[in-house]
Amino acid sequence: MTQEQVKELLPAYALGILSGAETRQCEELIELNPAIRQDAAIWEDILAELAFAVESQEPPAALRAELLRQIKETPQDSAKQSNVVPLRPRRNLREVPSAPQSAFNYWGLAIAASVAMVALLGALFVIWRKNQSLQNESRELAQQLKLSDQSLQEERALRQSLLGPDGRGAFLQGTPLVPKARANLAYNSKNGQASLSISDLPPAPAGKSYQIWFIKGKQPIPGKTFNTNEQGRADISLQVPDNGLHADTFAVTLEPQHGSTAPTGEKYLGQAAS
């Protein structure tokens, strides 16, 4: 099946109504071809939207409590890929070269002993170096673990802060310049901790950055500058300035690389609902 034929099948693939053979062919090409993968994802998004065509219904309140009770007893699947850095296996001490066989005469014995001593010293030096290297490696790993633990703690603290009673959020939509762009801003209205998650916003041109603005009345208060990756994504933590905590609305503009004190570039994201 050609790529074009598979592309034609993607709507039906996303709908889940293809035969087994056709499904497999689509899946193979989706894995291999990023453009096909992207197109399949768009069809899946379209089909997910169909859920909005159905009348919403409220499930029984007891269901939520039961769900939360059940997840306490349900272990989560382990990650597909472990982040634990594997330690290199230690070399076995028995691998230290043994001393050469000694001779029967004195000189021979003395020479042999000297050679053995040199070999032993050499081996001890190698072991000492190896030990130093392993200790350094161990220290680095401990440091990395400490940093990972710190960032995990920080991330958890941020989540708690944003999910707590002072958490606020806003959904930003792309302007006609970037109609598919989206952003979600979550922030704590008391301490200003914030998280900004952006999708489908093309990377800023060279020498430029995006900048977020907290707008109170007609006064834009400058926020952090950032850029997106090749996939148009960015997930950043930021601090809302004190005078931006009570902003009415938010916007993202394109600015010089290190940002501006007042917006100078075009608006790329704005709040559809404020």
Binding site: P11, A12, L15, G16, I17, L18, S19, R37, A41, W43, E44, D45, I46, L47, A48, E49, L50, A51, F52, A53, V54, E55, S56, Q57, E58, P59, L63, R64, L67, Q70, I71, T74, Q76, D77, A79, K80, L152, E155, R156, R159, L162, L163, G167, R168, G169, A170, F171, T175, P176, P179, N184, A186, S195, S197, S199, Q231, R233, A272, A273, S274
Partner: protein
């Protein structure tokens, strides 16, 4: 559009919530549930035609989200799409297990509901619902019927052909044309709002 929406907690930041769920935070699962319970339960009732079955499956879906949140790859899709796909897939599996397709099929071809529940108070959800419903109403009736049988009943193209006494090739064309038109309409209407 300047609909006033006051988001309570990090609204719409689903990826953020999924990362928190993957980190074992139950409060994040509760938040995701609160955010989507109405639309997902509505979808389940529509597919399963049974409140009790829908309750079972909704619970299964969120337990699966809890277990598999780490598998979710933001680079490959949107959280909402993942959630709806998971929900629809489990609902159709349940439907098949129940052998309830025959009973439910006549419902699948019914028109789009005219009245929205009072529970639909979230402005974004209501707005998206309005856009999708409008787009669906703009599809030719035969395309919409084929699409609904596939989407809400999980019927294959051959089963739809048999159900509608229509040649398989015609069904394939209707489904594909319907989806292409739906995509165009949704994209156009979303752009009109900006």
């Amino acid at each position: 559009v300047s609909t006033r929406v006051n988001y309570k907690v990090a609204q719409n930041n689903d990826a953020f919530l999924l990362r928190a769920i993957a980190g074992g935070e139950e409060i994040a699962l509760a938040e995701l549930y609160d955010r989507y319970r109405l639309i997902l339960f509505g979808l389940l009732v529509r597919i399963l035609h049974s409140q009790s079955e829908a309750e079972d499956v909704l619970q299964e879906v969120f337990i699966q989200v809890w277990q598999r949140a780490r598998d979710f790859d933001e680079a490959r899709g949107k959280p909402f799409t993942w959630l709806v796909t998971l929900t629809r897939s489990r609902a159709i599996d349940r439907l098949r297990a129940l052998g309830a397709r025959e009973r439910a099929t006549h419902e699948a071809t019914r028109n789009i509901p005219e009245i929205w529940s009072d529970a639909v108070t979230d402005a974004i959800r209501a707005e998206r619902g309005r856009i999708v419903r409008k787009a669906l109403l703009n599809l030719p009736e035969e395309q919409r019927r084929a699409l609904f049988l596939a989407y809400f009943e999980g019927l294959s193209q051959s089963e739809i052909a048999a159900r509608l006494s229509t040649p398989l090739g015609t069904v394939k064309t209707r489904v594909r044309s319907g989806l292409i038109k739906l995509r165009e309409l949704l994209e156009r209407q979303s752009e009109d709002l900006r």
